[in-house]
Amino acid sequence: MLSKTVTELASALDRKETSAVELTQAFLDRIQQLNPSINAYITVTAEQALAQAAKADAIRADGNAGPLTGIPIAHKDIFCTTDVLTTCGSKMLHNFISPYSATVVERLEAAGAVMLGKTNMDEFAMGSSNETSHYGAVRNPWDQERVPGGSSGGSAAAVAADLCAMATGTDTGGSIRQPASFCGITGLKPTYGRVSRFGMIAFASSLDQAGPLTKSAEDAALMMNAIAGTDQRDSTSLDLPAEDFTAMLGDSLQGLKVGLPKQHFSKDLNPAVSDLLQGAIKVLESLGATVKEVDLPNNHLSVPSYYVIAPAEASANLSRYDGVRYGYRCEDPVNLEDLYKRSRSEGFGDEVKRRILVGTYALSAGYYDAYYKKAQKIRRLIKQDFDAAFEDVDVILGPTSPHTAFKLGEKNSDPVTMYLEDIYTIAVNLAGLPGMSLPIGQINNLPIGMQLIGPSFGEARLLNVAHQYQLNTDWHQQRPEV
């Protein structure tokens, strides 16, 4: 039962094979059993979950159930949740009981989803392995010696290990897609501005975007229906007409034009990954799609420009953590400077501090033009590359990550090595485009995903391609033995 998709669970609930309360209890039991080893959750909200589940059962009994009513969900601990600990994976917020909820959380609650708890993540979403969390590393359910990816590693591991039916994540440079690839699940980063950032703790404001981590593309579409849409509380959320993301799921792929970026399929691409991608392409071709090469000439500059823009924005976003109004405060500060410096140095982990320093440097007098402004110019070039490519194709297909999940500690020695993990995903955030990852096979019993990138607001098309692929393959149904 717990490995079922949202769609399957909803019909089981409709048929009264189970109740939301039973289902919630079953997930809670499994969390109790497995979380000590996987470490996917920072906080489990059992009592609240059961209360929400009871309410969901009542709504269903009244005949008012929607597609997510009574479905257990896990929220990345980056989303503020009223009266629930919200840590963002940091000691800095180890005691932050949020007085308010994020729009994403409110909307899912309004849709009847049952919150099981808050999932582990890289500290302030800065990381690609979930090893920077103050709450310890998350283990990949496929191989517990390996990382689940990051920064939404807890959410991805929870979905893969059936510790929830679906989960929220956020993606600033690949933080939904890369863990989805490593954990063998489906993840979607929507177009920038599609989902409200209100209540989502900021890492890099112009790149951050929330999205679903699920067991199928269809589930992702259902979650998108709940969370997408303009929000007056977020000035950067786009004013778009409401959209049904499931509407195109059943469309044929006949005539679909798929672009393969030559930069993604270079000789540097891991041959095993390349083979699996070729296999996936064949499936799509068999469904009527045609492929052609596209050129993203500035793709190699995406990691460098990202590591200016994201740290620069982060350096300012994280200035509010000063030990004054909430969060971690050092013991017995002797003066104001001591309060600031010790609270921040003791409250933040090494990777966060490193990025704050890089961002501060990039913005400081004399370097602004050479770094920040230059990075923003390259950002435009990267966007223009995609715009040109989408003149010719409907979606772009390529790898999500260079390889399968790596071992804990394997890439910790040099930050730059870790940063290059996101070489295929980062450009999508810079351009603000929707991107998703879905499993297309395994290498040595470890799952790996392919990435689909769409033009702005092209989520429904991406979900359609992914759904059609999943109707004809069963990689998304593979589960680790935990």
């Binding site: 949020s98 308010y100 209100f198 404001s205 509380r233 350096s315 000063d322 501060t360 602004y368």
Partner: protein
């Protein structure tokens, strides 16, 4: 050696909105600490700014009032520094693309000369909270009620050449913002705050000297004193062979001196960059035209109109238009009585005198403009004399009722009945035989005395014109 002073002012004006620049918190002055600070104002994680429409309108109206270039696309930036009254660790401000660009305003000095002062820019930004240094077990208390209140920072060119010019500029700005109704301009409560960049140079030099910035001067009087003090300090320093250092100084109004502030940031590196949580604010010509259409008549235009339409002297027009409320009061008086010159006299002499004595503003005047207008009308229709009018005015100020009521109750109605006046005049002639004799023998000066006697006898109620006429007739015919 003669020295020239160069001053540029940065004036922070709190815009009189209901809610804050980026949050729906109220902006009332004097509330209990931290009761007007919501999750955004406290910079809780995940909170985001949403801009207040009214702030934009107010900034644009100010720009139009000083004939400034209006930024069709203004961009907010983050100005980064750590201070406990700045909860986000950055202030949202405008650096390269302010809402109001280059403009100018004309100041008038006491001797009547005029001077045009350039305004470099006026940008929208957030106010900070307040640090309270009273002792809380040796700690400082932080109140964030003011954090996020909208400010317009108006930056002048270094065009001011004396403390007096600086004060005149500040008064002009004050008058404009009150006319526009975009701020209460209350300097004591910090709604209008002034930083002055002051430097000196030898007369004839074209390069500017090194400037010191004097922070947070909170009254017109202190602006003049603080600048004069600073100028003296700099001249003394240079004449003693020293050099002015570029620094921030704080004016101490009790000691009347400026002193160096412990530098806030070792090197002021604010690391400005575009605020990614906000998008560019874009306005078009229609928007600007709509703001223009709602603009009130501004002091200079009103002053010119008072001269042309009401026939006032430029001086009187200046006095009456310095304050928008005063100008409106005056015009209501004119409408009621139909005599602008009398109205100008009564408002600028009698009413202002009364208000100054009671230390009240025009808005708190105990005599309404309609009441004053009626009073003047009663002089004009000969119901009362100008002298009696002063008595009625005083009675109104004491709250004794309306003009006609007071005239009635106190029996102050002017005597115009010829019969009554004749007997009055007869009585004066009878009881002052010596003076009558002197007049008749050619001593014209005595006439005034006799008129005075008649007025006195009537307790001021006799119509002086009629008394004059009757008395002269009777004396000449007698």
């Amino acid at each position: 050696m003669t020295w020239e002073t160069v001053i540029g002012l940065e004036v922070h004006v709190q815009l009189a909105t209901q809610s804050k620049l980026f949050s729906g918190s109220p902006t009332k002055f004097g509330a209990e600490p931290n009761t007007q600070a919501n999750i955004y104002d406290l910079a809780l994680p995940g909170t985001l700014p949403v801009m207040n429409k009214e702030v934009l309108r107010m900034a644009v109206s100010f720009g139009l009032a000083i004939d400034a270039e209006i930024g069709k696309r203004s961009v907010f930036d983050r100005k980064n520094y750590f201070y406990p009254d700045l909860p986000k660790g950055y202030q949202v401000s405008q650096l390269d693309f302010p809402t109001v660009g280059k403009g100018s305003l004309t100041i008038e000095m006491e001797d009547g000369t005029e001077k045009v002062i350039g305004v470099t820019r006026a940008h929208i930004e957030e106010d900070a909270g307040k640090s309270l240094h009273e002792d809380f077990q040796g700690m400082t208390g932080i109140d964030l009620n003011r954090a996020g209140t909208p400010l317009l920072e108006i930056v002048s060119e270094p065009d001011l050449r004396s403390a007096k010019e600086a004060v005149a500029y500040l008064k002009k700005l004050h008058s404009i913002i009150l006319y526009l109704g975009i701020s209460d301009g209350n300097m004591a409560q910090g709604s209008m705050r002034c930083d002055a960049n002051v430097s000196v140079r030898k007369k004839g030099e074209t390069e500017f000297g090194t400037r010191a910035e004097i922070k947070n001067i909170n009254s017109f009087r202190f602006v003049e004193k603080a600048i004069n003090h600073e100028v003296e300090r700099q001249i003394d320093l240079i004449e003693d062979g020293g050099r002015v250092v570029q620094e921030t100084r704080l004016y101490d109004s009790e000691l009347n001196e400026t002193r160096s502030m412990r530098s806030k940031e070792v090197a002021n590196d604010y690391r400005y960059f575009p605020e990614p949580d906000l998008l560019p604010v874009v306005i078009d010509d229609d928007y600007i035209a709509a703001v223009q259409a709602t603009m009130p008549e501004l002091p200079n235009a009103k002053r010119a109109r008072f001269v042309s339409e009401h026939g006032l002297s430029d001086y009187d027009a200046g006095v009456l238009t310095a304050d928008r409320a005063m100008a409106e009061y005056f015009e209501t008086v004119v409408t009621t009585c139909g005599d602008a010159k009398l109205a100008a006299n009564w408002v600028s002499v009698d009413l202002l005198g009364l208000l100054n004595k009671a230390d009240k503003g025009i808005a708190e005047s105990p005599v309404s403009p309609e009441q004053l207008g009626t009073l003047i009308a009663r002089i004009k229709d000969n119901t009362i004399s100008g002298k009696i009018a002063k008595t009625v005015f005083e009675a109104m100020a004491e709250g004794e009722g309306d003009v006609d009521q007071i005239i009635e109750n106190k029996g102050l109605k002017q005597v115009t009945d010829t019969g009554a006046l004749e007997s009055l005049v007869d009585e004066v002639i009878t009881s002052n035989p010596d003076q009558v004799e002197q007049f008749r023998s050619g001593k014209e000066q005595v006439f005034g005395y006799l008129v005075g006697q008649a007025m006195k006898l009537s307790k001021g109620k006799a119509n002086p014109g009629q008394v004059n006429k009757l008395l002269r007739e009777k004396l000449n015919n007698g």
